[in-house]
């Protein structure tokens, strides 16, 4: 059975679970929106806010993502399904791609909402030329994040104290994405007079990052998850 078919199988399964439990829509979304509000409040100072809005979008994405990844693997390890998956001979690469796919889709939904929130709450607005850049950034960053999340989520799934190990593992790795995405988004938003042309190199970084972890994950996931 091809790696890709397995990936589809698993992504479909994860998304069905999500549909049944409605976690992302009913709980993570409000949470994410809330995180934005919290930030905004903690730094209540409009001048500051609009300037750092892009950064905040990505920070919020990342915190909500932690929740998502945790959930994604809680589902697997709750009743030893991860063991079963391995025995089922499901190719680790397949598991990795599948779970990343599902995660990416959920993340995308999330980011769109956050972006809108940012535009409304922080009066950030997209320079016409920036739209393309913005889309590119989001696609690249989302893919990258999904890969990293799955990779480390899988790693933490086995370990005890998962819920706490995960953030520790992930945040530092994600930092580059955070920076790249922030700068690119700033460029798109034209924050601090950045022009969208300045954004593309960052997108390049993001793509590189995504490719790197995508490849690494597909190859290494097996040895990571099996105890």
């Amino acid at each position: 059975m091809s790696t890709w078919r397995i990936a589809r199988l698993i992504a479909a399964k994860d998304l069905r679970i999500e549909l049944r439990s409605r976690i992302v829509t009913n709980q993570v979304l409000p949470f994410a929106a809330l995180v934005m509000v919290m930030f905004a409040f903690a730094l209540d100072n409009d001048a500051v806010l609009t300037r750092v809005a892009p950064g905040l979008v990505w920070l919020a994405t990342m915190f909500s993502m932690l929740v998502l990844v945790q959930r994604a693997f809680a589902v697997e390890s709750a009743d030893g399904a991860l063991d079963a998956l391995q025995v089922a001979g499901v190719r680790p690469g397949g598991i990795f791609l599948g779970k990343s796919l599902a995660l990416a889709i959920e993340l995308a939904v999330l980011e769109i909402v956050l972006l809108i929130a940012a535009v409304v709450l922080y009066q950030a607005d997209v320079a016409g030329s920036g739209v393309l850049l913005l889309v590119a950034t989001f696609v690249a960053a989302t893919t990258g994040l999904a890969f990293v999340g799955t990779l480390y989520g899988g790693l933490a799934a086995g370990a005890k104290g998962r819920e706490t190990l995960l953030p520790l593992l992930m945040l530092p790795v994600v930092a580059p994405v955070l920076i790249g995405a922030t700068r690119a988004t700033e460029a798109a938003f034209g924050t601090n007079g950045a022009t969208s042309s300045e954004g593309w190199p960052w997108v390049g970084l993001l793509v590189l990052f995504a490719a790197l972890f995508g490849l690494g994950g597909t190859l290494a996931f097996g040895s990571l998850i099996d105890e």
């Binding site: 409000p30 509000v37 709450l121 009066q123």
Partner: protein, 252 residues
């Protein structure tokens, strides 16, 4: 409020419509009140010298805000009434739930009208003014409250859980109200209470207040009766389920 009897024989409860003569009269009154509000709010009341026609948003913005407060307080009170042993009845719980739903609706309207108004008079949809933020928090808190109502369990469990949350949540209302005093605000200070509004404006505001109050009561009555029927339906479904469940034994 007219309390509905706790629904034991479900069928009769379900057959009963949610309207009564009283609510029909009330509904008519609501329509009338809204018509008046349109009349005064949009035509008769004068423009504000600073805010021009923008001020007319006031007639929705403020009443909905205040009614939201009222709704949340009603939720709190009837939650307390539920927790209080001698008055314990699921009717209180339903009133609390219904009121919270309406409150969330109204608070939502306040937020929307407010941010529209903000766009007009401040040039921005949103700012981190204390009142705006606290309002947003209040809004989310009651969304959380509604989420807790849907956690499942028996009706009694739902009632007890959510009642406690309601009692804690209602404490945020004064927080919102006084926020303008406590933190450097951009938002309007108390202007109605200090009578900073011209006569006709004030009157229009009261028209709005009355109209929305009527609407609130009308919605509340219907909603809590619908809830009563939902609960009744559950019990009715239970009777059917019980029969099936017992049949399991027979077929073994």
């Amino acid at each position: 409020m007219t309390p509905t009897p706790t629904p034991s024989p479900g069928r009769t409860a379900v057959a009963r419509p949610t309207g009564t003569r009283f609510t029909r009269v009330l509904g008519a009154a609501v329509l009338l009140g809204m018509a008046w509000l349109v009349l005064f709010g949009l035509f008769l009341s004068p423009n504000d010298e600073k805010q021009k026609a923008g001020v007319r948003i006031l007639y929705i913005h403020v009443p909905t805000a205040w009614l939201a407060y009222l709704a949340f307080i009603v939720t709190g009170v009837s939650s307390a009434a539920y927790l209080f042993k001698r008055t314990r009845s699921l009717t209180w719980d339903r009133i609390a739930g219904a009121s919270a739903e309406i409150g969330v609706l109204f608070m939502g309207i306040t937020l929307v009208t407010g941010s529209l108004w903000g766009r007009i008079s401040w040039g921005i949809f949103w700012t981190w003014d204390s009142r705006l933020t606290t309002t947003a928090f209040l809004f989310v808190t009651y969304i959380g409250y509604l989420a807790v109502r849907n956690l499942g369990g028996t009706h009694q469990q739902r009632a007890r859980r959510s009642a406690i949350i309601a009692l804690l949540a209602v404490l945020e209302v004064p927080l919102v109200h006084f926020s303008v005093k406590w933190w450097r605000p951009l938002h309007q200070q108390e202007s109605v209470a200090e009578g900073k509004l011209s006569g006709l404006m004030l009157f229009s505001l009261f028209v709005g207040l009355i109209a929305f109050t009527l609407l609130y009561v009308w919605l509340l009555l219907h909603r809590q009766r619908v809830m009563a029927m939902e609960d009744a339906l559950d019990d009715q479904g239970l009777d059917v389920a019980l029969a099936e469940r017992r049949a399991e034994g027979a077929q073994v």
